[in-house]
């Protein structure tokens, strides 16, 4: 009996410790998530009372989902997101791994460099974006001036040209996040015993072969993690385009033609979702976020399957 009492007290104490998180989770995440599923099947009519918009929404079934799936801009935003992920994920991995390998060496001042490379991570993305907007702005921005010294002229500037705008934003995000990837890769690399590299050296491996056959396979869990979080970041990407594209060029500009419509070259799904929300189409926005969640789950599942590290 005494034993059971101890056990009971232990579980009560455990739940007490969990309570603060669980409360926040249920109130601010669990309930809104379920509520947005509920309103994704509803819409606010033009006649709605905008002071009590959620109360006056009407059930429309799958209409929101149907409308979205028939919307070219929706598909375009997904395409942009796909391209964005294609640009940012591999380069984040390559840059993070490269920096980690460099700074894993017994380099002088490596702690300084580790700090410096990590530092941009503590800044807000909006702040970083704004600074880059200044640096990238045509004619007077630092980058544009340097490019013109190299006789490279991009019409409208890097952010104003539809071909370069999205990759440029991607590059900024990659540079900002490089330190985070570096830390992850560093810790993974430092977990590889030195003797494994020594064995490889004696087995005749060159530096490149050690990277290819030893380091990369052994940091695969970090690569998988970076792909999954990178996918999530791409699907959620908003701040960077809001900071760097929308202010100057409208919503997700510069604009190009896609089918019959004019679409923004940087109109990522996160930004498009925001625009729908801003228009007051809450039901459609909720449906959008559920579609994004389904895509995210599918992609994560595929990632897991193909990149799973064996147990």
């Amino acid at each position: 009996m005494k034993f059971d009492k101890v056990k009971l007290r232990e579980s009560v104490v455990s739940y007490l410790f969990l309570a603060p998180f669980l409360t926040v989770f249920v109130v601010f995440l669990g309930y809104p998530a379920l509520y947005s599923l509920y309103i994704s099947f509803r819409t606010a009519p033009f006649s709605a009372d905008w002071y009590n918009v959620f109360g006056s929404m009407q059930y429309v079934g799958l209409a929101n989902y149907r409308e979205l799936l028939a919307d070219n801009r929706f598909w375009w935003s997904l395409f942009c997101t796909f391209i964005y992920g294609l640009v940012t994920i591999p380069s984040s991995i390559a840059l993070g791994l490269g920096l980690a390998i460099l700074l894993n060496n017994k380099l002088k001042g490596r702690n300084f460099f580790r700090t410096v490379f990590y530092l941009p991570n503590v800044l807000d993305l909006y702040v970083v974006g704004t600074i880059w907007v200044l640096m990238l702005s045509p004619n007077y921005g630092l980058v544009d001036v340097l490019l013109s010294k190299l006789h490279i002229h991009i019409s409208g500037g890097l952010l104003g040209n539809p071909w370069t705008a999205l990759p440029t934003i991607g590059l900024v995000v990659v540079l900002k996040g490089a330190g985070f990837g570096m830390i992850l890769f560093l810790s993974a690399i430092q977990n590889i015993p030195e003797s494994v590299y020594e064995a490889a050296e004696i087995d005749g491996a060159t530096a490149w072969q050690k990277l290819r056959y030893i380091t990369i396979p052994l940091v695969k869990p970090v690569i998988l993690f970076m792909i999954i979080t990178g996918t999530m970041n791409a699907l959620n990407a908003f701040t960077e385009v809001y900071a760097m594209a929308s202010t100057k060029y409208g919503y997700g500009g510069p604009f190009i033609k896609f089918g019959n419509e004019s679409v923004g070259a940087t109109s990522l799904s996160g930004l498009y979702l925001y625009l729908i929300f801003e228009r007051g189409e809450y039901g459609k926005a909720a449906a959008f976020s559920y579609l994004l969640m389904i895509f995210a789950l599918i992609i994560s599942f595929i990632n897991q399957r193909f990149l799973r590290t064996e147990k």
Partner: protein, 370 residues
């Protein structure tokens, strides 16, 4: 197959620490040489310098007569087995063993042939698809050995390969490695801190202490004729007993006086002592050279009387710790007699197997005589 020569090899680290102080010795073709010494004595550093994993501060390293000081590890044609096995954790046993051949662009059939040959030799055929994680310590060690074998290198290096294994497995692997050496007939250099491993495996032992080579000799020679107190104490288990004594030389031999007992060494044993004999010496006697007085004829000038303090029963023999007023000695005795703790007994030492060392320099006073 190849010979290895070390000529006055030194290793000085950036912080000024001298890990290896001028090591010179030779490993003949097909010889099994063991570097032995306490931990931190520099023996592993020495091996790593031979492997090319540590730079050589000064001196010459020759493999097959060619100076290889500046040759990278991968070009020295050596294979190494590490203490922690250093297997590639993400590769199967097969891939681990095939890796070096793959890097050298061997044809697939040749790789397969060699890997299977080595796996068969080591009893690993059933495990080729396993990852190291799914294997026991002994099996992993075999994979590490297999990885070395497939290369058919000039020289095999072993860095304390058995110290992570449990005692029983260690004995088993030791025998397997000896067999392997006979089978492969290749040059092997083996580092260990375990003198039993050194004695049982080596053709030749290099005893290292504090970065300096103490003695290079065949195992039995080291046991019988140690050059100094360190070697005498390091080789043999239980270790040799040492007692500080005063010494008097005359035509009938040498009389050692410990204070509580006197030992007379015969003239044949102390021939080399006539000149430069110090006043104080260390009398060294191995535990197996001490007998119970009841089992031998009385020899008053070779008798030690002392209190038995500890008796360790091994089954086939017993280790008895004997305390005189000044020293403690260990005797390795047959279990024929029983000993009461705290009682005094008389023991006889084999004076023909006694050792003498200078009490100050700790050098053997009998080394040249033998």
């Amino acid at each position: 197959m190849a010979s290895v020569q070390l000529k006055n090899i030194r290793k000085v680290y950036d912080n000024g620490h001298e890990a290896v102080k001028g090591a010179s010795f030779e490993v003949a073709d097909r010889e099994f040489v063991v570097l032995v010494g306490p931990s931190g004595c520099g023996k592993s550093t020495l091996l790593r310098m031979i492997a090319g994993l540590e730079s050589i501060s000064s001196g010459d390293l020759l493999i097959d007569g060619i100076r290889v000081n500046d040759l990278p590890a991968k070009d020295r044609d050596i294979a190494m087995v590490f203490q922690n096995y250093a297997l590639y954790p993400h590769m199967t046993v097969y891939e681990n063993m095939a890796f070096s051949l793959k890097l050298r662009n061997f044809p697939k059939e040749e790789i397969d042939k060699r890997v299977r040959e080595a796996a068969e030799m080591l009893g690993l055929l059933d495990y080729l698809d396993r990852k190291p994680k799914a294997m026991s310590g002994g099996q992993r060690q075999r994979v590490a050995v297999g990885r070395a074998i497939v290369r058919r290198p000039k020289v095999f290096l072993f860095d304390e390969p058995l110290s992570n294994l449990d005692a029983k497995l260690r004995v088993q692997m030791r025998v397997e490695l000896i067999k392997l050496h006979h089978r492969l007939q290749s040059t092997m250099i083996y580092v260990t801190h375990d003198q039993v491993e050194a004695m049982t495996m080596a053709d030749k032992i290099v005893v290292v202490n504090k970065g300096e080579i103490q003695q290079v000799a065949a195992p039995i020679e080291l046991y019988r004729n140690p050059i100094n107190k360190f070697v005498a104490g390091f080789i043999g288990s239980p270790a040799m007993n040492f007692c500080e004594c005063s010494i008097k030389l005359d035509s009938s031999g040498a009389l050692l006086d410990e204070g509580t007992f006197k030992i007379k060494l015969p003239p044949e044993r102390v021939r080399s002592l006539k000149t430069n004999c110090p006043e104080k010496v260390l009398f060294g006697i191995r535990p197996e050279c001490i007998y119970d007085a009841r089992a031998t004829t009385p020899q008053p000038e070779a008798t030690i009387e002392g209190t038995v303090e500890v008796v360790e029963t091994m089954g086939n023999e017993i280790f008895v710790q004997i305390a005189t007023a000044r020293n403690e000695l260990t005797a390795r005795l047959s279990p024929d007699f029983e000993y009461q703790i705290g009682q005094r007994y008389r023991f006889v030492v084999d004076v023909n197997k006694a050792h003498l060392f200078d009490a100050v320099t700790e050098k053997s006073l009998l080394y040249d005589a033998l």
